[in-house]
């Protein structure tokens, strides 16, 4: 039996997912341009892995495999995971991450819509905790490395752990600016001195600052198309900027600037694409503000005081835990529950 309404709107779930993928494309293009084509290999690998795991999980659970694959959510997860780990990560690393994302974090909970933790970030967290070494070997920007892996070399490296004769891992990889900053601060260098080291650009890391700008552009597109709402990105960026600004103003030589925090690491990706995952984020308007602001705060705390270089994944996961409570405490009063003016 069909129940009313008989006319449905024109938004479709697969289209939403497709648009999210589309919004990621500018950043991918910039990444290829500035860091070489390795990211394409890891995106393809993650996508293939995610679709395979998704299909297996759907089949085991007795659900429609085609219907499940067509919704596109597995691809979004795969891309976001691939974009948050080093592009030159070995193949097994990517696959382990995708496995934890798709199978453990998503399908054990019942698949799309039923999961409580952001799948991509569960994958990332498992990897950074278990394999910190490959997880901190990031591709060096072309402008610094001088030499780079072309597509063929990248495939050989990722799948075969094999580098061209004239290259070393040290030459093609580098620590991220966030990582360098924290280790150098420990050696009592000032922020100003550290910022002059290679790997730092105008306001973020060399190259990665432009990738961040591309994420921002993609995010604004999602906002404009009303795929995401403004509350989470704004609150996240706002609280991260506010926290870093306060400490930066107190002592600019010991604390990184707000600009740096926004442009470095996964801030932009996190603010527009990850913290906004509708399934695992808070849903009420006030809840979204609180959720975003807390993630921003946690990112800052983890970056400045924690052991892990970037706090986006942990911030998001920690707030995922609190989402049910946030949602139930920030329920807006329905029509007729507000107390009527006499």
């Amino acid at each position: 039996m069909q129940s009313s309404p008989y006319v449905l709107g024109r938004t479709h779930l697969p289209i939403i997912m497709l648009k999210v993928l589309l919004a990621l494309v500018p950043a991918i293009v910039v990444d290829v341009w500035l860091f070489g084509p390795a990211i394409l290999v890891s995106l393809a690998l993650a996508s293939a892995g995610a679709l395979t795991f998704e299909a297996i999980a759907l089949a085991l659970r007795g659900r429609s495999v085609v219907g499940g694959l067509m919704d596109g959510s597995a691809l979004v997860t795969a891309w976001l995971l691939a974009l948050s780990i080093p592009s030159i990560a070995p193949w097994w690393l990517t696959l382990v991450g995708v496995f934890f994302a798709i199978v453990v974090a998503k399908h054990l909970y019942g698949g799309l819509g039923n999961n409580i933790f952001n799948p991509a970030m569960v994958g990332y967290a498992v990897l950074i905790v278990s394999f910190p070494v490959p997880m901190t070997h990031w591709a060096a920007p072309l402008s610094l490395a001088g030499q780079s892996l072309d597509l063929h070399d990248a495939i050989l490296w990722i799948f075969g752990n094999h580098l061209p004769d004239n290259q070393t891992l040290d030459a093609i990889s580098s620590a991220t600016p966030l990582d360098t900053l924290r280790t150098q601060l420990k050696l009592h260098h000032t922020v100003e001195a550290i910022r002059t080291m290679p790997g730092f650009g105008h306001f973020g890391g060399t190259g990665s600052e432009y990738v961040a700008l591309a994420y921002l552009a993609g995010g604004l597109y999602l906002l404009a198309d009303r795929i995401i709402t403004w509350q989470i990105p704004l609150a996240l960026i706002g609280s991260l900027a506010a926290m870093s600004a306060i400490f930066w103003l107190i002592d600019p030589s010991a604390w990184a600037s707000p600009m740096f925090h926004l442009a470095a690491g996964g801030t932009m990706l996190g603010a527009f694409f990850i913290a906004t995952d509708p399934v695992t984020a808070a849903t009420t308007p006030r809840g979204k503000l609180l959720y975003g602001a807390c993630i921003g705060l946690l990112i800052w705390l983890i970056r400045e005081f924690g052991a892990y270089p970037d706090g986006v994944a942990f911030g998001v996961l920690l707030m995922n835990i609190a989402v049910p409570l946030i949602d139930s405490w920030t329920q807006p009063p329905p029509y007729g529950h507000k107390g009527t003016p006499a």
Partner: protein, 194 residues
């Protein structure tokens, strides 16, 4: 020890070395009393009260009664003291305020078999904490316990409606959820140097 030190103990016990998710203590109530938010809050409050009190009392017993000489009586005397506190609190609350009893009382008997309650005093001894530190450690530890419990209960209530594979329903998914929570809490690693 200054204010900053005390603050660090609190942050450390509540977040960084969360008694449940990092130290793996108090698992039974964590899984047993987290099916409903309401009961989780009650259990958290009751545990916080008993643990803080028990932590302080245990310190006094260890310091003034046992010393190094009778250290082997630590376990038994701590548990006796805690059982006494729990029992007294239970009967007192029940008599003094039926309302409060309905909120907290039914959880009190469960507290004696929460190993965090004995674990924290023992950790206090191990860490050579003074009286104030012991109190704070007990309080922070139990707040950490309550925090994890309440958050977990929220998640489990939501999971009730999820369409998950049958064999994972119930305890199994609760374990996996606790695992991911513990993974997330690892994000606090390094904030307070151990």
């Amino acid at each position: 020890m200054d204010i900053k030190g005390y603050l660090l103990i609190l942050v450390g016990t509540v977040l960084v070395n969360n008694i449940v998710l990092a130290k793996i203590l108090g698992m039974c109530p964590f899984f047993g009393v987290s099916k409903k938010l309401e009961t989780a809050v009650g259990m958290g409050a009751a545990t916080t009260f008993v643990l803080t009190l028990g932590s302080g009392t245990s310190y006094l017993i260890d310091h003034y009664l046992l010393g190094t000489h009778l250290a082997y009586l630590r376990t038994i005397s701590f548990i006796v003291v805690i059982a006494g506190i729990v029992n007294f609190t239970e009967m007192f609350v029940r008599w003094a305020s039926p309302v409060l009893f309905r909120v907290l009382g039914i959880y009190l008997p469960l507290i004696t078999s929460n190993c965090a309650v004995l674990g924290i005093p023992l950790l206090n001894v191990q860490g050579q904490h003074d009286f104030i530190q012991s109190l704070l450690f007990g309080f922070g530890g139990s707040v950490g316990f309550s925090l994890a419990l309440v958050l977990f209960a929220g998640l489990r209530e939501r999971l009730e409606g999820a369409d998950m594979p049958v064999i994972f329903r119930g305890t199994s998914i609760a374990m996996i959820t606790a695992g991911i929570m513990s993974l997330a809490f690892m994000g606090f690693a390094g904030m307070v140097k151990p």
